[in-house]
């Protein structure tokens, strides 16, 4: 079968957003956040209690899904190595718009305790648009739930537009990503 068929190897045209249903859309999107079950660092250990019986994130309408195609939220849980960054970019671009990024912990903000590491990145929003930051090392499930409450507010008022910024400033993001990832052995655009 034609391999090229699986990737859309061209820049996406500017996605329009809005219409008559925009209020209902935002309301529904805020109350049905599907999180891709992918942990990049130590923070993913805090996501398990968040999503199971003790803290029960499902009462906010959130659930874990096993594939980026069906997910709305990508959680960067903790430190991000260069090797993982490549996977994270692929996962993020395979998610369907509108999509949101939540960064957990100190590491994506300024490197945290890995600030001088040779293979961990220091500042996440050079490479991916982040909608909500949750500080702490590591943030407790209560903090994560508070962060998701904030994300819901942002979506509800139509201000969580990181995915739009990513498409508008794609060249800038690509430049930054290619500076870090030396062996770019993947399609140019993988949505």
């Amino acid at each position: 079968m034609d391999k090229k068929n699986y990737f859309l190897d061209e820049k996406p045209e500017k996605l329009t957003y809005g219409g008559v249903f925009r209020k209902i859309d935002d309301w529904a999107r805020a109350r049905s956040l599907w999180v891709v079950a992918y942990g990049t660092g130590c923070g993913s250990i805090e996501l398990r209690p968040t999503f199971t019986s003790r803290f029960d994130a499902e009462r906010l309408g959130m659930r874990m899904v096993g594939t980026p195609r069906q997910a709305d939220v990508l959680i960067i849980s903790g430190y991000l190595t260069v090797k993982t960054l490549k996977r994270v970019i692929r996962v993020y671009e395979q998610m369907q718009s509108p999509k949101y990024v939540v960064a957990l912990g100190a590491c994506p903000i300024n490197g945290g305790m890995y600030y001088d590491s040779y293979n961990a990145i220091n500042q996440l929003d050079l490479y991916l648009p982040v909608d909500v930051w949750i500080t702490g090392c590591m943030p407790r499930p209560e903090a994560i739930l508070a962060g998701f409450k904030r994300l819901q507010e942002l979506i509800d008022s139509g201000r969580a537009d990181g995915w739009k910024k990513y498409i508008e400033n794609l060249d800038w993001y690509r430049e930054n990503q290619r500076k870090i990832i030396k062996n770019w052995k993947m399609p140019n655009y993988n949505w």
């Binding site: 079968m1 068929n5 699986y6 859309l8 996406p12 996605l15 249903f21 209902i24 859309d25 529904a28 999107r29 109350r31 049905s32 199971t52 019986s53 029960d56 499902e58 009462r59 906010l60 309408g61 899904v65 096993g66 594939t67 195609r69 069906q70 709305d72 369907q96 718009s97 509108p98 949505w191």
Partner: protein
């Protein structure tokens, strides 16, 4: 004729809505059994709207686009062939002579369409899920068909309506009580049809992501979502008609389908998962054996 089509359309919408609501109730009950609060019972409607309005930028070929439609049409077709309220001109749907055999064919259609579409998506998890789904279908179809044949021989009819009419006159005339072995076989195979948990080998979360629909997103997934809920409704209604005596009013139909819905739900929450070969072996031994016993009994008694 046109009014019948109009009412069939209305029942279809009602069926999707009630199926989504039952899905929400099942999420709530599961949450309470796990000592959680759980989402609202309307959560599935919110999910459906969100999925329907998301952008879609994936292209994998024609069959990839058609598969969710197959799923929806397979579900809707089965739903429209099963009479909901007997004797009602609006709610008996398009049942006709010999429809039970057509229904059994129609129930396979959605799975086959899904298999073709998932195979075209190119994701390695999809063919694994498809293989598992079709193998397991071969497993649960056997006891189900045996128990349906038992009912056909017992009532000397191949229509759902005829089988419902044979059960009128009180609870003890229900096939659940007059043919308990056939009912047991069919209700065990219902667990496989609903892929409730000991037999959840198709989607198999934590193992093969979500199996066949791994590559499906947004609007496609919303079609599959509604197709799945209307298909589930069709099965509940079919089991209500075959074993619980059908329904004389809409309220009775709601109550009895809710009873059928509770059976796989309570099983699914207390069991871990079989492997594929364990699942198929189970279906081909116990429920098949129970069904064959009843088939032998009904053939000797005639």
């Amino acid at each position: 004729m046109w009014s019948k089509i109009f009412y069939a359309f209305l029942t279809l919408l009602g069926g999707i809505a009630y199926g989504l609501l039952l899905g929400g109730i099942s999420r709530k009950i599961t949450a309470r059994m796990q000592n959680r609060r759980g989402p609202t019972v309307w959560q599935n409607f919110i999910d459906l709207w969100k999925l329907f309005r998301k952008k879609t930028a994936v292209s994998h070929g024609v069959m990839f686009y058609l598969a969710p439609m197959f799923r929806l049409v397979g579900g809707a077709g089965t739903f429209l062939l099963v009479p909901i309220v007997i004797d009602s001109p609006y709610l008996s749907n398009f049942s006709f002579g010999g429809d039970l055999i057509v229904i059994m064919y129609f129930m396979v259609l959605g799975c086959l369409g899904m298999a073709l579409g998932a195979a075209e998506s190119g994701h390695p998890h999809a063919p694994i899920g498809v293989t598992r789904g079709l193998s397991q279908m071969a497993g649960y179809e056997l006891p189900f068909v045996i128990s349906v044949v038992v009912l056909m021989i017992a009532d000397k009819t191949a229509t759902v309506e005829g089988i419902v009419r044979a059960q009128q006159g009180g609870i003890l005339h229900w096939h659940l009580f007059t043919h308990p072995f056939a009912a047991a076989a069919a209700f065990i195979s219902l667990l496989g049809m609903m892929t409730s948990y000991p037999f959840q080998v198709v989607l198999a979360p934590q193992e093969i992501a979500v199996g066949p629909p791994t590559e499906y997103s947004s609007t496609f997934l919303s079609y599959m979502f509604s197709g799945r809920s209307v298909f589930a409704m069709a099965k509940y209604l079919l089991f209500m008609d075959l074993f619980l005596g059908g329904a004389g009013s809409l309220l009775e139909a709601f109550a009895k389908t809710f009873l059928v819905f509770l059976w796989p739900l309570f099983i699914t929450n207390v069991f871990p998962r079989f492997r594929l070969e364990q699942s198929v072996r189970f279906f081909w031994t116990w429920p098949t054996f129970i069904g064959l016993v009843d088939l032998l009994r009904i053939s000797l008694m005639r």
